[in-house]
């Protein structure tokens, strides 16, 4: 279960960056008063354009960065006060996270399993299962630097799922993946949902949100403008497709919030 209550995150902008990006304010508010919840057995999609605050929200949930105000509770643990327990229970994956390419896939899994305090037998069991799902078994002793981009991404996903987490947080899950890898990932997410996992994804691709999610939240300019099932959003916006709904909302709120 994920509960986000009145999440606000502001970033300090250094003088150099303000000058470089021609900005006036010392602080930039990436998200403001965002609240939503994700239930077990549900996939929630945060939809929004670039810079809407999707990644910031997910990073706060994953404990990588701290909220400026508000509260995030994941499986009963507060991300600010009990960040290690939160990290015990989540899997967070984004394209920005990389693996040390000097090591083999096999050692990488052992290393991250060790950091998660897993026993060697647990690591082996889980590793074999994930390598099988993502087709890594035949490459497990190769250095990651010899992997293709798709294979690196699949290994990154396998590493993040090593601890069989109850909560899965994916920032742009299919971004940059080839068609086959993207299908493996989406199929796996749907399988996890069936197993009762709590899943939140961020995306700017409408098709991904439509196909995967049970509920959608649309972020524009750091504000959660609307949330609900696809049907509810279409009804509220009086549109027929998610694309139309999004553009209608963006036209209305984009300038005010962007």
């Amino acid at each position: 279960m994920i509960e986000v209550r009145n999440l606000t995150k502001t970033y300090f902008v250094s003088k150099r960056e303000r000058k470089k990006n021609k900005m006036k304010n010392e602080y930039v508010r990436a998200v403001e008063n965002v609240s939503f919840s994700v239930r077990p057995g549900e996939i929630y999609a945060l939809l929004g354009p670039n810079g809407a605050g999707k990644t910031t929200t997910l990073r706060c949930m994953s404990t990588l960065i701290k909220p400026s105000s508000g509260e995030i509770i994941i499986d009963g643990f507060d991300v600010q006060n009990d960040s290690e327990s939160v990290r015990e229970n989540i899997s967070f994956l984004t394209n920005e996270l990389k693996l040390d390419e000097h090591f083999s896939a096999d050692y990488t899994m052992k290393f991250f399993g060790g950091l998660r305090n897993m026993l060697p037998e647990q690591i082996d069991l889980r590793k074999n299962y994930l390598f099988d799902i993502f087709g890594i078994e035949g490459f497990k002793n190769k250095q990651i630097s010899d992997f293709s981009t798709g294979m690196k991404q699949k290994l990154g996903i396998a590493v993040s799922l090593l601890n069989d987490p109850e909560v899965i947080i994916f920032d742009e899950p299919t971004n940059g993946l080839d068609i086959l890898t993207a299908k493996t990932v989406t199929d796996y997410l749907l399988d996890m949902k069936e197993q009762g996992k709590t899943i939140i994804i961020s995306t700017h691709v409408m098709r991904v949100a439509e196909k995967l999610s049970d509920r959608i939240g649309i972020l524009i300019g750091g504000h959660l403008i609307i949330e609900g099932t696809l049907k509810e959003i279409l009804e509220k916006t009086e549109t027929e497709t998610l694309d139309d709904a999004f553009f209608a909302l963006y036209e209305k709120f984009g300038d005010d919030n962007g």
Binding site: L97, H102, G114
Partner: protein, 405 residues
């Protein structure tokens, strides 16, 4: 010990020790290059000394008095090729030859030198002008050989002649039957020679060995995006920081051992580089000094590793870290040199200064002359510094501004 700490240390050490490029550049290359460079330098200096020992000084001499020729015929000074010059108008040409290093010295005796000596008048004693080229080492040696050796003895011989017997010129002797001129034991003498060399080298090698790998350990991981992946696991951030500090200390020690092995390998060829007093066979180190040395080295490693990791945490990229680390390396170099060049005066204040004080402690240990109070003062201050560095690093590991782009 926390199992996760061991996982981090093992990963960091595997990163270094399974990378052939890093093993070569961080561990083998320092030792090999030191062995080769010191051997070459030692051989070059040795060859220069040998050449200087057999070099015959080419001396152009004007107005040579017959007493000087007679003296030289009977004197033990045999490194002179004297060229008698008859025309004083050629003196400028002689000076040119001196400048061109084709001769080593020019001597100009006063005209009628012997006559003036035998006429002896107190205000009209005869003179010898000497010309040499200070840029030319052989010329410097020649001047020393002639002015402080030959001419002094020549003067004594003439005084002896005036007094009727050379024995009358002997006023006292020095160390004629004294076989124990030096009161220092050979072990202590060898330790003193070592203490002038090794503290500088150890201090510099420790820092240089840790520097390259250390700045990559955090800044490099941040730059490559691998740090965030690690920090997303439930491991405490101080565990990651401590694991990196400990593994960097281990790498620094290995790198320093490699460098010291390089020096030892070079000894057969480089002993002249380290001075005449160095007798390796005589170096003896009591066990309690070995223990003190190990403690002092571990403390110095702690300071260096803390500083390097701190720079690595502050920096957003390896390039930026490289820029920040250079001035610290300069401080390490200057501190090491100043510590060894100090006057040896015991003053507790200098033991309070990190790095500088630590290097002096290592020097004191090598020269078997350590004051335990100063050792404890220095260790206490250093441990405070290390604790401070670790606490700052820990705090920064929790700060998103430093840990994420």
């Amino acid at each position: 010990m926390d199992r996760r700490l061991l996982v981090v240390i093992k990963k960091e050490l595997m990163r270094v020790f399974t990378d052939r490029r890093l093993v070569f550049t961080a561990l083998l290359l320092p030792g090999l290059s030191i062995a080769v460079i010191y051997s070459i330098m030692g051989m070059v200096i040795g060859n220069m000394d040998d050449e200087r020992a057999i070099h015959m000084y080419e001396i152009e001499t004007y107005n040579v008095p017959s007493s000087y020729i007679s003296y030289m015929d009977e004197s033990p000074y045999d490194k002179i090729n004297m060229h008698e010059m008859v025309d004083i108008s050629q003196l400028e040409e002689s000076k040119m030859r001196l400048t061109n290093e084709s001769i080593d010295m020019v001597l100009v005796f006063d005209e009628n030198f012997d006559q003036k000596m035998s006429d002896y008048r107190i205000n009209e004693i005869p003179n010898i002008d000497t010309y040499f080229n200070p840029i030319n080492e052989y010329s410097q040696d020649a001047r020393n050989y002639i002015v402080n050796g030959i001419l002094q003895d020549y003067k004594v011989a003439i005084v002896g002649e005036r007094l009727g017997d050379i024995k009358f010129t002997q006023v006292f002797s020095i160390d004629i039957d004294n076989s124990e001129i030096s009161v220092a034991s050979e072990e202590k003498l060898a330790g003193t020679v070592i203490s002038r060399i090794l503290p500088i080298l150890i201090s510099i090698f420790l820092f240089a060995g840790a520097m390259g790998i250390g700045i990559d350990m955090v800044a490099g991981e941040k730059e490559r995006g691998t740090m965030a992946t690690i920090l997303l696991t439930p491991v405490k951030r101080e565990t990651v920081a401590l694991g990196k500090l400990i593994s960097l200390a281990i790498v620094a020690i290995f790198s320093t051992i490699s460098s010291i092995l390089g020096i030892l390998l070079s000894f057969p060829f480089s002993s002249k580089l380290f001075g005449q007093g160095l007798n390796i066979d005589k170096i003896s180190f009591p066990p309690q000094y070995i223990l003190l040395l190990l403690i002092a080295l571990l403390i110095l490693v702690g300071i260096y590793v803390g500083l390097i990791i701190l720079v690595s945490v502050i920096s957003r990229s390896v390039k930026e870290a490289g820029t920040y680390i250079s001035p610290i390396y300069m401080v390490v170099l200057i501190s090491a040199i100043l510590a060894v060049m100090g006057n040896g005066e015991m003053n507790y204040m200098k033991y309070l200064i990190p790095i500088y004080g630590n290097t002096i402690i290592i020097q004191n240990i090598f020269s078997l002359d350590i004051n335990m109070m100063y050792f404890l003062i220095n260790s206490f201050v250093s441990i405070l510094v290390i604790t401070g560095l670790v606490l700052i690093i820990r705090k920064m590991f929790y700060n998103e501004k430093f840990m994420f782009k």
